[in-house]
């Protein structure tokens, strides 16, 4: 992360060089005291209140952060609601380690599919991070390849999710009922994994589009690979959310 931040700065200031006017015109005009002389709360306020920008990041990145914050609230509401119905239901909740077990050979292995799915998604975060790095190093081919790999992992994840859904549906799980207990089990399951799956699918498309632009040299012409990092932010977020779903839905 810190390395990215550094490269990022270099990136933007080189973009600056091409602008008329240059840095002199943009010297701060505030007569605020320099931040270092202010301590404690007023120092923090003065830093944040600096002119033009509160955070030293490009617009797109700032906007993605804010969007993800809002999206966090959506997932939090979903998960809290799920926990609420799970706690307040009068009928026992089906046991996840049995419901989500697969028969492999003669063995019944609990949560195996989910474990693989989680691994796939976490790996994709790794490839994404590498893509961002190569992006800032201007390695077009490597960046494209790594982004496509990430998208591939994402698509695999969605595919496995489709498999899981099919399996549960053939076993009789429906949004309005299931053979083993509280009806809210199916409803929460389809709703939450479905909503997350939509996020992953959107991410796959997003990755593919950006990867194509990397390949065609769009960001070289633009002079900045920021978009790759912004895509990465979204992708890491979707992974992180999955970790919570995994913990709260499958492990509880």
């Amino acid at each position: 992360m810190s390395e990215n931040a550094l490269t990022n700065k270099g990136e933007s200031s080189s973009a600056l060089g091409s602008l008329p006017g240059g840095a002199a015109e943009h010297a701060p005009t505030t007569t605020r005291e320099p931040a270092s002389t202010l301590e404690g709360l007023s120092g923090v306020v003065s830093d944040w209140a600096s002119d033009k920008q509160a955070f030293r990041v490009p617009w797109g990145k700032a906007m993605m952060w804010i969007f993800l914050l809002s999206d966090t609230f959506i997932f939090t509401c979903f998960l809290t609601s799920y926990m609420n119905v799970r706690i307040s239901t009068t009928v026992p909740w089906p046991n996840p380690s049995e419901v989500f077990a697969l028969n492999i050979g003669n063995q019944r292995i609990p949560l195996i599919l989910i474990a693989i799915m989680t691994m796939v998604l976490i790996t994709s975060s790794g490839t994404m991070a590498m893509a961002v790095n190569f992006g800032y190093a201007r390695h077009r081919a490597k960046t494209t390849a790594l982004m496509l790999m990430t998208a591939g992992f994402g698509a695999t994840f969605v595919g496995m999710q489709a498999f899981e859904w099919t399996k549960l549906i053939t076993e009789g799980v429906r949004p309005w009922g299931n053979p083993w207990g509280a009806v809210q089990f199916g409803s929460s399951f389809f709703m939450i994994t479905g909503f997350h799956g939509l996020h992953v699918s959107a991410g796959v498309i997003y990755l593919a589009v950006v990867a194509r632009r990397v390949w065609t040299g769009f960001y070289d012409r633009k002079g900045s690979y920021e978009t790759v990092e912004i895509t990465g932010l979204y992708w890491h977020f979707v992974d992180l959310v999955w970790v919570f779903i995994f913990a709260f839905f499958y492990l509880w």
Binding site: A62, M63, N84, S88, V183
Partner: protein, 586 residues
């Protein structure tokens, strides 16, 4: 200096050439603002029409047969929802937010104009879906604007099969639209201010709109989740919110859901929503008061911190709407406490408004009249809020007309007064012409006094125990006969107030061509939007060079200065040193 690159890049702005690109598919924040405002006001007039119909029924129960009980519930629901969300939220954030943020911060436009344009069109779609609800079998939902399950999706409530779905879908679309706009507003305020415009030099209007947008981005998710779950309940037969109820003699089709969960989700959104409407009003009214009293706003920093504090606290008071819902009584204790705490920063703001007027050079212009009217009305509504915030007082008053009177005062009339004031104030910048002053004064006095004639008696009705959301009364012996006469009087006032708004509409349209030419800065105000090279501002707002800010937004009547106001972008000189972010110590 990594951050200076983008704001001054001129080539990101392509001047639109064709009429369609300029006025329809426009990416200019000013055009989008006007589109938002016109749509919001249009749908708001529909809601006003519905309130007139409701009042006719309440005032003269046997005189009009055109409103059936079902229609009454549908009107209540649509009226409340439209007023709160499709009118006020859209108008303050999509309308004023869009217009003022870039101009007041010294930006050329929002940071992502294309997304901003989409935001409007998606909002329009949400409005159309909402209106479509009137034309489907069963009509729109009549569940009340709170949409509480189980009744909102069970047979017996009007619109429980399709009306509610249309409502939920429309809300979902609205939230998408709002998010696209809101991300723009927040990012623009944080990242795209002009040189010298520190956060602590921003006009309070921007602060209010900014904080309201943040609240929206964090509160609407709860509504979205509630809407998704309720849609699933009613379309797919899930049981998130529906317990096993026997409805109209039919065996239960659902089991084990929690209606309280919906109430929590709804009010986790619903209370911040009150402040989404109130904070922009707070901000705008501060600027109106300061400009028209020719005096710096009192306690600028305190005002900013109060906005931030109110914003944060508004997320921990939601269950004061649920004292009678059957939740754990201990919650009531907690939420009553937080509710009373939030009154502190709110009261600070009121004191500071009054102290801004103190020894000011008060010009009773039309915007100023509305601003002062706002202070009165808001204090009135705020005080009844203190009553309702306390559990023991709220329990008997819940679901009576006292509540109706309270929320109309605090989030109906008060923000609407600010909307009017703001329109009178900024119309000259938007159109280049002044609104007619005499008509404006008539509009103000009749509206202000008229709304008191409507809502003050409602407090009294509420204390008598007249229940809210009732189509007609019967078997209510505890109510004296006079209740009916009061209701009739209220209705007459309401008809009157509604009619007076025609004066305003006429003024808006008439002044467009016949109004007095305004010049660039008719109110002699300090903030940046009045310093644009053209009026109305052109695409890109600032001509070739962005403004540079040297001082805070409230340099009025500075001793020694040539004029009684110093624009924010006026460079410092010996008499008027720059860098002031606080009022003088005296």
């Amino acid at each position: 200096m990594a951050y200076v690159a983008i704001a001054d890049r001129d080539h990101v702005l392509h001047d639109p050439e064709t009429f369609i690109r300029k006025y329809i598919w426009s990416q200019d924040h000013k055009v989008i603002a006007i589109q938002y405002s016109v749509t919001a006001i249009a749908i708001g007039l529909v809601a006003l029409g519905m309130s007139v119909l409701m009042r006719l029924q309440l005032g003269f129960p046997h005189a009009f047969s055109l409103i059936a009980p079902n229609n009454y519930y549908q009107f209540i629901t649509m009226h409340g929802m439209i007023m709160v969300i499709y009118l006020l939220t859209a108008l303050f954030l999509g309308g004023f937010g869009n217009y003022l943020i870039p101009l007041m911060c010294g930006a050329r436009d929002m940071v992502f104009p294309y997304m901003n344009m989409l935001s409007y069109w998606v909002y329009l779609l949400a409005v159309l879906v909402l209106v479509a609800g009137f034309f489907i079998p069963g009509g729109p939902t009549g569940a009340g604007w709170t949409l509480y399950p189980p009744q909102s999706v069970l047979p017996g409530t009007p619109g429980s099969s399709w009306g509610i779905i249309f409502m939920l879908v429309s809300l979902g679309i609205f939230i998408v639209a709002f998010t696209m706009g809101g991300l723009n507003y927040v990012t623009t305020v944080l990242q795209a201010r002009c040189r010298g415009m520190t956060l602590m030099r921003m006009p309070l209007s921007v602060w209010g709109i900014f904080m309201a947008t943040v609240l929206g981005l964090l509160a609407f998710p709860a509504l979205l989740v509630g809407a998704v779950m309720m849609t699933l309940d009613s379309l797919l037969g899930t049981s998130f919110f529906l317990p096993a109820v026997v409805s109209m003699g039919q065996p239960p089709t659902h089991s084990g859901g929690s209606p309280l969960l919906f109430q929590h989700l709804f009010w986790f959104f619903g209370h911040p929503e009150v402040y989404i409407v109130a904070l922009p009003a707070f901000g705008i009214v501060s600027d109106l008061l300061s400009t028209h009293a020719r005096r710096h706003i009192f306690g600028y920093r305190m005002m900013v911190w109060a906005i931030l504090a109110i914003g944060c606290l508004s997320f921990v008071v939601w269950a004061h709407h649920m004292y009678v819902s059957g939740m754990n009584p201990y919650f009531g204790f907690f939420f009553a406490t937080t509710t009373l705490i939030i009154a502190v920063p709110t009261a600070i703001k009121v004191y500071n408004w009054v102290l801004t007027l103190w020894r000011g050079d008060i010009h009773l212009t039309v915007p100023m009249l509305f601003a002062i009217g706002f202070i009165f009305t808001f204090v009135n509504g705020g005080l009844t809020g203190l009553f309702l915030g306390n559990v023991t007082v709220d329990v008997p008053l819940s679901a009576t007309y006292f509540v109706v009177a309270h929320f109309h005062m605090v989030m109906g009339v008060s923000p609407i007064l600010v909307v009017f004031g703001a329109i009178y104030h900024w119309y000259p910048k938007i159109t280049g012409r002044m609104l007619n002053d005499t008509l404006g004064r008539i509009h103000f006095w009749l509206t202000f006094l008229g709304t008191y004639a409507i809502y003050l008696p409602m407090h009294y009705l509420g204390i008598l125990g007249v229940p809210r959301r009732y189509y007609a009364f019967g078997g209510t012996e505890f109510l004296p006969e006079s209740v009916q006469s009061v209701n009739a009087a209220i209705t007459i006032s309401a008809l009157f107030v509604a009619a007076v708004q025609l004066v305003f509409l006429f003024n808006l349209i008439w002044s467009l061509s016949k109004g007095k030419p305004a010049g660039g800065n008719p109110w002699r105000a300090t903030t940046l939007e009045w310093q644009t090279p053209d009026t109305p501002p052109k695409h890109g707002n600032w001509g070739p060079k962005l403004p540079v800010v040297h001082r805070w937004a409230y340099d009025y009547s500075v001793p020694g200065a040539k004029e009684d106001f110093i624009p924010q972008n006026q460079p410092p000189d010996a008499l008027t040193p720059a860098g002031r972010e606080q009022e003088p110590a005296s």
